[in-house]
């Protein structure tokens, strides 16, 4: 059977997520992800020509909230989880490139 995902693709996705995987981990995740894709591929056995594509399992739409302020966090509370703090902000290592 053809492997549904290559080791290179797994390495690429790991890099996008900024995950450092060693060689053993790469092998392990490649076979695990391939197993998941095999499982999903079972759907290919079904004829879905007459089924409209859906984006959500629940038949719901327009679930909306009124634009009214609610309770948020105190600044001190938020900054407790920051690795380092400067001027009420999260201080992080330099980042090259932009989002």
């Amino acid at each position: 059977m053809v492997q549904r995902i290559s080791r290179e693709e797994v390495a690429h996705v790991a890099r996008l997520a900024q995950l450092a995987l060693n060689e053993d981990e790469l092998d392990a995740f490649t076979s695990q992800l391939a197993a998941i894709l095999d499982h999903a591929a079972d759907l290919e056995a079904l004829n879905v020509d007459d089924v409209e594509p859906s984006t959500h399992p629940f038949p719901l739409k327009n679930v909306l909230r009124v634009d009214e302020p609610g309770e948020g966090f105190e600044v001190e509370e938020v900054l407790e989880v920051a690795p380092e703090v400067e001027e009420s902000q999260f201080r992080v290592p330099p980042i090259l490139g932009e989002s």
Binding site: H12, V13, L16, A17, Q18, T55, H56, F58, L60, K61, N62, V63, L64, R65, V66, D67, E68, P69, G70, E71, G72, F73, V75, V78, L79, E86, E87, S88, Q89, F90, R91, V92, P93, P94, I95, L96, G97, E98, S99
Partner: protein, 472 residues
């Protein structure tokens, strides 16, 4: 640049004027203490779930309708990337099914610029790069404020229909004006509520195919937009003229250096792995809701330009400045009080740039009539206008208080005759001189007569009298 055409398409992000964030009830507000407007959703804490803000959807539909788009059933999608401005490692955006698609915007000169889509997404936290003079590629560390994280945005993607820095600036001004008019955004570029990413490519004149484009980020003002486009077009032309090829890149505008820097190439471009957001259900606005929103839209800048232009009898290009200054209603009121239409246009454009103060449309109308009837000279009119703006009142009375009473023409003629007889040599050169000489002498006589009448004579009429006398 000669022989080259610059092609520009803009992506404009505007923060929507809601009270709270897109997916949670934390405040959407600018300028507070960093990290003071957050909650589990804005910080992307595990287990938190987004709930869509109805007002954000309504404002997005307002934008879509104002830009002549089709409003459609839409779905949110996750745009995955790893960066500390987005702690949950994805941004909730829209991908293949945006809420608005295929519209257009009309520039003041009447050209229609295509709008490909206008979709909803959440804003990210704000990162400040510290060290290296704030430059992104030399920073020693970064600071993050999550107040902006989750603020609702509309991203408006324009077609590559713009052809130079002026076009780009006109487009952004017009778009900003529309967004502010319909109450969708405050449109403040200086506060980052309106941000522009700019796609630039160049091609030889007459070429059909588009060149390879670069996307420029970090443009913070209309001025930077123009400068960045000029720089980037020149850079690309130089590359092609030296026999090389432009590489598709994302570039960063550096305002201080006046140049763009490469951020990443196409190969390094983010692979966002979009997929439908499982935590949110589709939005399918009912026809009634869309219709109701459409009815609640105020007249748009384009309609207002046309309305005033038709009332005056000029092209809409000429009324665009007045609409931008929000003085078009005032102009129409003055016109319906029988103002001279052309003087209305001239004064509103040139002499009322700082606002109308206490000037009423009726007083303004009377003043333009006095001016066109030559009861006041151009200079006197300006003086009276300034007084009306400053303290209100009636133009007739203000003119009188300045001693600007119109001169009887027969009285003026007597003065002209006397001045001529007192300066007979100059008069002869006026009559017999060539055009230059006549102009010089005409200035001389008008000056003397103005002095004699303490500036009450109308220079135009004095000139008419002088040339009539020269011919008799």
């Amino acid at each position: 640049m000669n022989g080259w055409e610059t092609v520009i398409g803009l992506e404009v992000h505007a923060e929507l004027a809601t009270k709270t964030k897109m997916f949670s009830s934390a405040l959407n507000s600018f300028g507070g203490e960093p990290n003071s407007n957050t909650d589990p959703v804005s910080l992307g804490l595990p287990g938190s779930l987004p709930v869509l803000n109805e007002k954000a959807v309504e404002l997005a539909i307002r934008v879509g309708l104002a830009l002549n788009c089709q409003v459609q059933k839409s779905v949110f999608a996750r745009k995955n990337y790893f960066y500390p401005d987005m702690p949950k490692a994805y941004q909730i955006s829209q991908f293949d099914l945006p809420i608005n698609k295929e519209g257009w915007l009309e520039l003041p000169d009447g050209r229609r610029i295509g709008i490909e889509r206008a979709h909803l997404e959440e804003d990210t936290g704000k990162i400040t790069h510290v060290g290296g003079g704030g430059r992104i590629h030399e920073a020693s560390y970064s600071l993050i404020d999550y107040n902006r994280s989750g603020v609702p945005l509309i991203e408006i993607v324009g077609a590559p229909d713009l052809r130079g820095p002026d076009d780009a600036r006109d487009y952004v001004s017009e778009l900003r004006s529309i967004l502010v008019t319909i109450g969708a955004s405050d449109g403040k570029m200086e506060e980052g509520s309106l941000r522009v990413d700019c796609n630039v490519s160049v091609r030889r004149d007459g070429a059909e195919e588009l060149g390879t484009r670069c996307e420029i980020k970090n443009i913070n003002s209309l001025r930077s937009l123009g400068r960045a486009i000029e720089y980037e077009a020149k850079r690309q032309i130089e590359i092609i003229e030296s026999g090389q090829e432009v590489e598709q890149q994302t570039r960063h505008w550096d305002e201080a250096e006046g140049r763009t820097h490469k951020l990443r190439s196409k190969e390094e471009a983010f692979d966002y792995r979009y997929f439908p957001e499982p935590d949110l259900v589709p939005i399918e606005p009912s026809e009634e809701w869309v219709k109701e929103i459409g009815k609640s839209l105020p007249p748009l800048p384009r309609d207002r330009r046309h309305l005033l232009a038709d009332a005056i009898g000029v092209e809409p290009t000429e009324t665009s400045l007045i609409v931008q200054r929000d003085l078009d209603t005032f102009a129409l009121q003055a016109i319906s009080s029988n103002a001279d239409k052309n003087r209305v246009l001239v004064h509103l454009e040139n002499n009322l740039a700082d606002g109308i103060g206490k000037l009423t449309p009726e007083a303004f109308a009377s003043l333009t009539v006095m001016e066109t009837n030559s009861e006041l000279t151009a200079t006197q009119t300006k003086t009276v206008l300034a007084d009306l703006v400053e303290s209100g009142g009636e133009p007739q009375e203000i003119a009188k208080s300045h001693g600007f009473e119109s001169m009887d023409n027969s009285e003026l003629e007597k003065i002209v005759d006397r001045i001529i007889s007192e300066n007979s040599d100059d008069w002869l050169s006026y009559i017999n001189g060539d055009e230059t000489e006549r102009k010089k002498k005409s200035g001389f006589f008008v000056g003397l007569i103005m002095k004699e009448t303490s500036g009450q004579a109308d220079g135009k009429i004095v000139n008419q009298i002088l040339s009539a006398k020269a011919e008799s």
